[in-house]
């Protein structure tokens, strides 16, 4: 549906996006994830045809966004970071205007405006001046605007910012609903949101793609070496020493005090079977196990890990370049 090939964007000499490739398939919800300043908004602005790219191509539904701009833009509904609303207009008036701007035939205009207002639950607000609406409602008016003209592709730049929790749920459900017959790309820096809504995610940092995969795969890949969460009672140092002596334990990476004499340990194992030995060793040494479970990294940890690993690899390259023999310490 949307193909992005070798896309790059420079602001003067500063790169914002450095040669990224990905695609948005038919009827899928693609999450676009990255910290602030990663190039999310720039990329979305380019896909929507607001900014021209410095290099590379964006093809929307078979139309090139710069060569056949008008046809391509007709397939896109775009909600930018700041909702593009006119404060002096009334909600319905504004939506009518946007429908006209997008070339919706006059006969269909009224129905489409009604539908989009209904979907976003702003029908009660139709006579209100946009300037008097709260941030959440402005955001919804902006969203309603993106639905006009029945675009096949929806580009949503942080659609839930400024909404209260129940509205966030509503918008998420709406995105899921729209995902059935639209291609949706939606950006966020809230990982829980992305994992709740998206099938695939693109992780971007400093203008480069870190990973493109389904959420399950990302989580699975990141737990290639088994991590065990262990809560046990007993002397902290003693337990760490005991654990480290067990064959098959790679590292004891994180210790968090839960209460007096009770700590949480995160243990990296070579294989899952080492669990039994850990149990017997601890019990033999009079340390009682409170809880033990296999850790599955959540998206947040995956995200941090990917960014850290990239940093590490670029640091390693630097070290290699300077012929320094001291390798980067594995323990993070």
């Amino acid at each position: 549906m949307v193909e992005i090939k070798n896309l790059s964007k420079y602001y003067g000499r500063n790169p914002a996006v450095k040669g990224i490739d990905f695609e948005i398939r038919d009827n899928e919800i693609l999450g676009f994830l990255g910290p602030n300043g990663a190039g999310k908004s720039t990329t979305m602005n380019i896909i929507a045809g607001y900014l021209p790219s410095t290099g590379g191509t964006v093809t929307v539904n078979g139309f090139d966004i710069t060569e056949q701009a008008s046809e391509a833009k007709k397939c896109i509904g775009y909600l930018p970071e700041i909702p593009p609303v006119y404060p002096d207009m009334r909600v319905e008036e504004y939506l009518n205007f946007v429908a006209g701007l997008k070339g919706v035939p006059r006969a269909e205009r009224k129905k489409q405006v009604e539908d989009s207002m209904e979907k976003l639950h702003i029908t009660d607000m139709r006579r209100r001046l946009i300037r008097n609406l709260s941030k959440g409602y402005k955001q919804r008016v902006g969203f309603a605007q993106a639905l006009l003209g029945n675009p096949k592709i929806l580009i949503l730049d942080e659609p839930t910012v400024g909404l209260d929790p129940s509205q966030v749920m509503e918008v998420r459900n709406l995105i899921l609903e729209l995902g059935k017959d639209h291609s949706v790309i939606f950006s966020s820096h809230i990982l829980a949101e992305v994992s709740a809504v998206c099938e695939r995610v693109v992780i971007i940092n400093k203008g480069e793609i870190m990973a493109i995969d389904t959420i399950e795969n990302l989580e699975k890949n990141m737990t290639a070496d088994t991590v065990l969460n262990l809560t046990a009672d007993g002397d902290k140092d003693k337990i760490i020493r005991l654990l480290k002596d067990i064959r098959g334990v790679n590292a004891v990476s994180e210790v968090k005090e839960i209460s007096e004499n009770r700590n949480l340990y995160q243990i990296e194992l070579k294989e899952e079977a080492v669990r039994n030995e850990i149990m017997s060793v601890l019990l033999n040494n009079q340390c009682s196990i409170v809880e033990m479970n296999l850790a599955k990294l959540n998206l947040e940890q995956v995200f941090m890990k990917i960014i850290q690993e990239k940093k590490k690899s670029s640091l390693e390259e630097l070290i290699e370049e300077t012929n320094n023999s001291n390798p980067y310490d594995e323990e993070v």
């Binding site: 602001y11 003067g12 602005n45 929507a48 045809g49 607001y50 900014l51 021209p52 701009a69 008008s70 046809e71 833009k73 007709k74 896109i76 775009y78 930018p80 700041i82 909702p83 593009p84 609303v85 006119y86 404060p87 002096d88 207009m89 008036e93 205007f97 946007v98 429908a99 006209g100 701007l101 997008k102 070339g103 605007q145």
Partner: protein, 243 residues
Amino acid sequence: MFSLYKKELQSFFFSPFAYVLTALFMLIFSFAFISSIASIDSNTLKFSFPNIFYDNFFFFIFIIPILTMRSFADERKGGTEVLLLTSPLSVGKIVLAKFLSILTVFAVMMIATLFFPIYTSFNGQVMWSSLICAYLGFFLWGMVCIAVGMLLSSLTGNAIIAAILGEIIMEGTLLVDQIGGTALVNAYPNLNSAISWISMQRRFVFFSQGMFRLEDFIFFLSATAVVICWNIIAIEKRRWSHS
């Protein structure tokens, strides 16, 4: 394109903006009207309105930058520029729609001033032919000024700065004519003809005298076209170097 035109017109007429400006325009016109009535001598048979325009350019032109200052600056400030530029409309059509809407407001302002000649015609005689010509000339001159004002609004991105710069440039065009009238410039015929070629006021003189010269007509139209194209290019350019 029509929806944008309509929306722009609504933003003028659904707010006090257009009415206040029209009132100001009529106020200036009525002052000028009173002072020219006062200076009439007994030999005058027909009342000639073109002089009103001609003598009070300085005030009339003052209004146009206020009309145009918000056109693009507000879109940039409010983030609604994204909406327009991601719509299927081309930049050219966006600029044209905005231009036509401001031109419509300007036309309405001028039509409102027809009150004075119509009223005069009940009590005396009005030279309609030269009046129509003067109105046409003033409309054409206003067209160029609107295009310039919109360009400034799009370049500066700030309504107040656009308005002030607009005032300076438009009064500057009047100043060109003043310079053209000095003895120094008159000493060099080539320079003088160059100045009178670009001086819009001198071209307007013909209109106000009831002379419709194709040359002047083409000049105003092409000047407008050039400035509008410049505006389109300026918007495209800013998108490319957006930061």
